[in-house]
C-alpha cells in the first residue's frame, strides 16, 4: 500500500482550531462563539474530543484511499457521489433526520456503537430555534 499517499490525504483531517478566529474579517465573534481563552482554543478539553469529532470522517477517508489504491479512482468517485446524494436526503434542519440511506451506504445500520446509545439526537431535550436554523442552513445568518 502506498503509505505516503495515505499520509498526504490524511494530513488535513484534524483541523486545529483557534489559529484563525471564526467571525467575519477574522475578528473573534463573541456573540456567536463565546468568550475566548487561548487554552480553550489550543488544548482540547478531553484527549478524545478531537479524535471522536472527526472519527467518521477519518474512517471514510481511510476507506476511500484504500479503495482507490486497490480498484482505481473510479471506485471512490462513484461511492462519494452516492454519499453526497444520500446526505442531501434530510428533513428540515431543526427536525431529526433518520439518515437511513447514508447509514445503509456506510454499513453503520448493521452495527451498534456508543453513538447509537448515548446522546441520541432524536431524544435530545432541546430543539433548535427553527427560524435561526433554517437561516443558518441557507447561509443567510
Amino acid at each position: 500500500m502506498n503509505t505516503r499517499g495515505l499520509r498526504s490525504q490524511l494530513k488535513d483531517s484534524i483541523p486545529v482550531a483557534g489559529l484563525c478566529p471564526q467571525g467575519q474579517y477574522g475578528v473573534q465573534d463573541s456573540l456567536r462563539s463565546g468568550f475566548t481563552s487561548a487554552k480553550n482554543e489550543l488544548l482540547p478539553s478531553h484527549p478524545l474530543e478531537l479524535s471522536e469529532k472527526n472519527f467518521q470522517l477519518n474512517q471514510d477517508k481511510m476507506n476511500f484511499s484504500t479503495l482507490r489504491n486497490i480498484q482505481g479512482l473510479h471506485a471512490p468517485l462513484k461511492l462519494q457521489m452516492e454519499y453526497r446524494a444520500a446526505r442531501q436526503i434530510q428533513r428540515l434542519p431543526f427536525l431529526p433526520s433518520s439518515n437511513l440511506a447514508l447509514d445503509t451506504l456506510r454499513g453503520s445500520d448493521e452495527s451498534i456503537g456508543f453513538e447509537d446509545i448515548l446522546n441520541d439526537p432524536a431524544q435530545s431535550e432541546m430543539m433548535g430555534e427553527p427560524h435561526m436554523m433554517v437561516e443558518y442552513k441557507l447561509g443567510l445568518l
Partner: protein, 278 residues
C-alpha cells in the same frame, strides 16, 4: 457554555465532552479543599479462563468494590455474548457491562447479516477495535472464551486494545494470585472435573489473597454441546457452623421473684416489605 451557533450544527450521538473542562476545574478545586472527587466503581476482580479437553471454562469472583467499600457482594461478572461465547469483565464495572452488551448486540446483528454462527476471533476483533478507538478511557479488561466451528478459543483483551491468545488467562486485581495456581497445575487437555477444580482453586486464591476480590466463585463451562452456567459454584467464604452450644439450660439459675406488667398497645398498622436478597 451554550454558544449561540452551537444548536445550529448537526447534533451527533455518542460521547459529549462539554463537561470535561468543568470537571477538571472542579477536581482541582476539591483537592485544594481536601475532598476527593467521586470515582467510578471498579470490580476489583479475579477472572480466569482455561481451555480444557472439550471446550472452555471461565471463572470469576463476585465482589464489586467502590474504592475501599464492597458495593455488591454477589454481582455477575460472566456476561453473555453469543449462545456459545461468554465474556468475563474486569475493570470499571459500568464500562465492562456496557461493552459486553454492545458486543452481544453487534454479534447478533452480524449473525443475522452473514447467516453463520459467530467466531470468537470476530468478537475479539470488534472488542479490540472499539477499545483502541477510545484509547483506554473505556476501562474494561475482558476475557472472551467460547466454542465455534474452528474449536475452543480463549482471548484476553486489555483496556487499551491489545489482546492475547493463550490456553489459560487471568485478569483483574487478583490475576497474580490466580495465575500462580494455573502456572503450577495447568496441563493441556484436562478432564472436566479436574479443570473445574483448577479454576475454582485459582479464583479462590484470588479471593483469599486479594482485597479487591471476594464472595463466591462463578463458573461457566462452554462445550460444543452447550453452556453450563454455574452461578455460585463454590462459596469458600461462607461462615462455618458452630460446633457447640453456649446457651444455658432453663433452670440453671433459680427464679426468686416474678412480676408481670402488661403494656396495653394497639396494633394500628401492619405492612410487609419484601427485601430482594437474591
Amino acid at each position: 457554555m451554550l454558544h449561540s451557533l452551537k444548536p445550529c450544527e448537526q447534533q451527533t450521538g455518542g460521547f459529549c465532552f462539554e463537561n470535561s473542562r468543568r470537571n477538571t476545574v472542579l477536581e482541582s478545586n476539591l483537592s485544594e479543599l481536601g475532598y476527593k472527587a467521586p470515582t467510578a466503581r471498579k470490580t476489583g476482580t479475579t477472572i480466569a479462563g482455561i481451555v480444557y479437553k472439550d471446550g472452555v471454562i471461565l471463572g470469576a469472583d463476585t465482589r464489586a468494590t467502590d474504592d475501599m467499600v464492597v458495593a455488591d457482594k454477589n454481582c455477575m461478572k460472566i456476561h453473555y455474548i453469543a449462545p456459545k461465547i461468554y465474556c468475563c469483565g474486569a475493570g470499571v464495572a459500568a464500562d465492562a457491562e456496557i461493552t459486553t452488551q454492545i458486543m452481544a448486540s453487534n454479534v447478533e446483528l452480524h449473525v443475522l447479516n452473514t447467516g453463520r454462527p459467530p467466531l470468537v476471533a470476530m468478537v475479539t476483533r470488534q472488542l479490540k477495535q472499539m477499545l483502541f478507538r477510545y484509547q483506554g478511557h473505556v476501562g474494561s479488561s475482558l476475557i472472551v472464551g467460547g466454542v465455534d466451528v474452528t474449536g475452543a478459543h480463549l482471548y484476553s483483551v486489555y483496556p487499551h486494545g491489545s489482546y492475547d491468545k493463550l490456553p489459560f488467562l487471568t485478569m483483574g486485581s487478583g490475576a497474580a494470585a490466580a495465575v500462580s495456581v494455573f502456572e503450577d497445575r495447568f496441563k493441556p487437555n484436562m478432564e472436566l472435573e479436574e479443570a473445574k477444580q483448577l479454576v475454582r482453586d485459582a479464583i479462590a486464591a484470588g479471593i483469599f489473597c486479594d482485597l479487591g476480590s471476594g464472595s463466591n466463585v462463578d463458573l461457566c463451562v462452554i462445550t460444543e454441546a452447550g453452556v453450563e452456567y454455574l452461578r455460585g459454584y463454590d462459596k469458600p467464604t461462607m461462615k462455618g457452623k458452630r460446633e457447640g452450644q453456649y446457651r444455658y439450660k432453663p433452670g440453671t439459675t433459680a427464679v426468686l421473684t416474678k412480676t408481670v406488667t402488661p403494656l396495653s398497645l394497639d396494633v394500628i398498622d401492619q405492612s410487609v416489605q419484601v427485601m430482594d436478597t437474591e
